[in-house]
């Protein structure tokens, strides 16, 4: 006998315990809004065009200060990613040099298997060049940031597989700059020299100046495609999506495998249920 009540109770207890653990005190400040992403939910996949645009922003703007040490050039043509061709990626990699003691000059052009270069040789160099602030590595940054929802809404996240907190945060951060300290700032807030005010950065004083602005980057428009708006909002979305991909480059194949596994488990469970039921039909229990 399946006791529906028992199963419901077991599920509730499990999620109750697991969910309770996920609650984190909400930071003071503006609440980060959930955005609509092509990669959200169990059916979500990356939008190739968006990843290519995001890569362009990363390369032309972000990568002058931020590294991505876990990203190999080959990732850029692997399935589920931005979908560049192998030739494009090899040519791109060759534009960057890497130290190699076995090479004649001590340096050689990068190949597809090499990682994305760091803009600074050491953390100290990075700090010196950025007014003491350390630009974090982008490799898993989208996973290292998140949002919080008030009780009881975060419970829903377990059922919708909400994994886009990082992208939501990055989008909010990039669009959350103010030229001057706004009225919404905490009382008595004083912006330190060389810092910028941001609605969503913890403590509001961020060392990075607003990196993006309307019209900063020109996107190439493909044949027969509608032009993408050249706005801060669009840039922020695109680069947030790209960072999500960098943090989780194999999401698409993982979800595809997930569907096969789920289908198998449901069918197998059904069969097991039928066998078990038939077996027990003879027993008073």
């Amino acid at each position: 006998m399946i006791r529906v009540k028992s199963i419901i109770a077991a599920v509730l207890v499990t999620f109750g315990l697991a969910g309770a653990g996920a609650v984190v005190a909400a930071e003071a400040g503006k609440e980060i809004q959930k955005q609509s992403w092509s990669f959200s939910g169990p059916f979500g996949t990356y939008d190739q065009n968006q990843l290519q645009r995001g890569f362009q922003i990363f390369r032309e703007v972000c990568s002058s200060c931020h590294g991505a040490r876990l990203i190999a050039f080959r990732n850029l043509y692997e399935p589920g990613g931005p979908g560049f061709s192998e030739e494009q990626v090899k040519a791109l990699a060759a534009e960057y040099q890497i130290a190699d003691a076995t090479a004649e000059t001590g340096q050689r052009p990068r190949v597809a298997a090499d990682r994305w270069p760091n803009p600074f040789p050491t953390e100290q160099d990075a700090r010196d060049a950025n007014g003491g602030a350390y630009p974090p590595d982008f490799s898993v940054l989208a996973k290292a940031r998140g949002t919080t929802q008030p009780f009881p809404w975060w419970i829903l996240n377990y059922f919708t597989a909400y994994q886009e907190g990082g992208a939501d945060y990055i989008y909010a951060l990039l669009t959350g700059y103010h030229e001057e300290v706004p009225a919404s700032a905490p009382e008595g807030f004083e912006l330190a020299e060389g810092k910028y005010y941001n609605d969503y950065f913890p403590g509001h004083a961020i060392g990075m100046g607003p990196p993006l602005a309307d019209g900063l980057i020109t996107y190439e428009v493909g044949e027969g495609e509608a032009a993408v708006p050249l706005t801060l909002d669009q840039y922020s979305r695109d680069v947030a999506a790209f960072m999500q991909w960098m943090a989780d480059p194999h999401m698409v194949s993982r979800k595809e495998a997930g569907f096969r596994v789920m289908l198998f488990l449901f069918l197998f469970a059904g069969l097991m249920w039928a066998v078990k039921r038939r077996l027990w039909a003879k027993v008073e229990h």
Partner: protein, 427 residues
């Protein structure tokens, strides 16, 4: 085991030869197939088998992960990412192991709460229960050390906070702390010894699980009505009846497991653990994994001094006591009736205890300020009161409902007994 004859007859000379020297087949037949099991076990009883499978899954995935992981402060973080990005099948194996820890605890808590409700800790199953408590404590230690291995911010600061607990112990505290950390602070030595112990202790758990099952097979299973097996009419052979039922439950359990592994592998962890450990930057909130939160709350709830015991030591005593009190449970609950089904007053206190425990979990992740502090104290007080006051007193004052004389009688008295798919009255 006890009280039933072996039905094994070696069918050929080779089996006969083996049986005279090492009766492995006979042993397996008696314990894995013929073992008489009460026929009225409900699905709460399948979590034992689910846990056995989870332990095996954790060990197998863990052994594979150890082939690619590097226990070094400079390389650990990237080596985990290397597994997820570059190792064939690595992202699935790593996700199964990380999510598996949470699923293991989900099953473990259900298994423990099943035992608490149906009085599975009462005579003659005290040793069985105590072995279970040992497994629980060991698994908590293993999971905690496992969480340190990716060497993220929560790994590092969790390790710092939790090892620091030991410094509260008088006299022995400081040397013990240094022994645990392998130095004055959490560092490479800590990571290495945690990795070593994280690999070793699961095999100790496996050994205790063998004892746990041995101790189960001496008195046999408890059951939802808590009346001992009276005759063979009350039982069915373990195989095929419970092998099939357990297998079905295991497959169903795999569905939420797979959901997390494939669609939300990071949702049960903390984003801060994707930041590499940094001893110079303290996270805003240091939160252990969800399954340790109830006990973390109890640790933090004691923020006042009692006589010569300062709050830090008091917290450690309370947290240790919360676990150790479980060992005394068989003697604290004096009621002769095992199953909560027949204990009208017990039921109320039990479900309050369940809600209280979920409350303790919730509070562990909440900041230690304002109203949360008061709730933490109330919940901690009820946790102890349940074991030390409620259960001992209930056995004196409670009048249990009349018990069925046997499992068979109880089964026949059920309204829709035997018709498959029918709902059974709540226990």
């Amino acid at each position: 085991m006890s009280g039933h004859e072996s039905t094994y007859n070696p069918s050929n000379p080779v089996e006969k030869w083996l049986d005279d020297r090492l009766p492995l087949v006979r042993f397996s037949k008696e314990h894995l197939m013929d073992f008489p099991t009460p026929k009225n076990l409900n699905y709460w009883w399948t979590f034992g088998a689910i846990l056995a499978v989870m332990l095996v899954i954790q060990i197998i995935t863990g052994v594979v992960l150890a082939m690619h992981y590097t226990p070094n402060v400079a390389m650990a973080f990237d080596s985990v990412e290397h597994i997820r990005r570059d190792v064939n099948g690595g992202r699935i194996i790593q996700a199964v192991h990380a999510v598996g820890a949470s699923m293991f605890f989900a099953a473990l808590y259900i298994h423990i709460f099943r035992g608490l409700y149906f009085g599975s800790y009462k005579a003659p199953r005290e040793i069985l229960w105590m072995l279970g408590v040992i497994i629980f404590i060991l698994v908590m230690a293993i999971a905690f050390m496992g969480y340190v291995l990716p060497w993220g911010q929560m790994s590092f600061w969790g390790a710092t906070v939790i090892t620091n607990i030991f410094s509260a112990i008088p006299v022995l505290g400081e040397p013990l702390l240094q022994l645990l950390r392998g130095g004055f602070a959490v560092d490479n030595a800590t990571l290495n010894r945690f990795f070593s112990l994280h690999y070793l202790l699961p095999f100790v758990v496996a050994a205790v699980v063998v004892l746990h099952i041995w101790a189960l097979h001496v008195p046999g299973n408890n059951n939802p009505i808590g009346v001992e097996v009276k005759s063979t009419r009350d039982t069915v052979p373990f195989h095929p009846y419970y092998t099939m039922k357990d297998l079905f439950a295991i497959i169903v359990f795999f569905i939420p497991f797979a959901w997390f592994v494939f669609f939300a592998p990071d949702i049960l962890g903390h984003p801060d653990n994707y930041i590499m450990a940094n001893s110079q930057v303290t996270p805003a909130h240091i939160v252990p994994e969800w399954y340790l939160l109830p006990f973390y709350t109890i640790l933090r709830a004691i923020d006042f001094n009692v006589l010569f015991i300062d709050s830090k030591l008091g917290g450690v005593i309370a947290m240790g006591g919360a676990l150790l009190v479980l060992f005394a449970l068989p003697w604290l609950d004096g009621s002769k009736v095992r199953s909560g089904t027949f204990r009208p007053m017990f039921k109320w206190f039990y479900w309050l205890f369940v809600i209280n425990f979920i409350g303790l979990t919730y509070l562990g992740a909440a900041p230690a300020e304002g109203v949360y502090v008061i709730f933490a104290k109330i919940c901690t007080a009820y946790y102890f009161a349940y074991f030390l006051i409620v259960l001992p007193l209930l056995s004196r004052f409670e009048t249990p409902k009349p018990l069925p004389t046997s499992i068979s009688e109880a089964v026949l008295a059920k309204p829709h007994s035997g018709s498959a798919g029918a709902a059974v009255p709540a226990e």
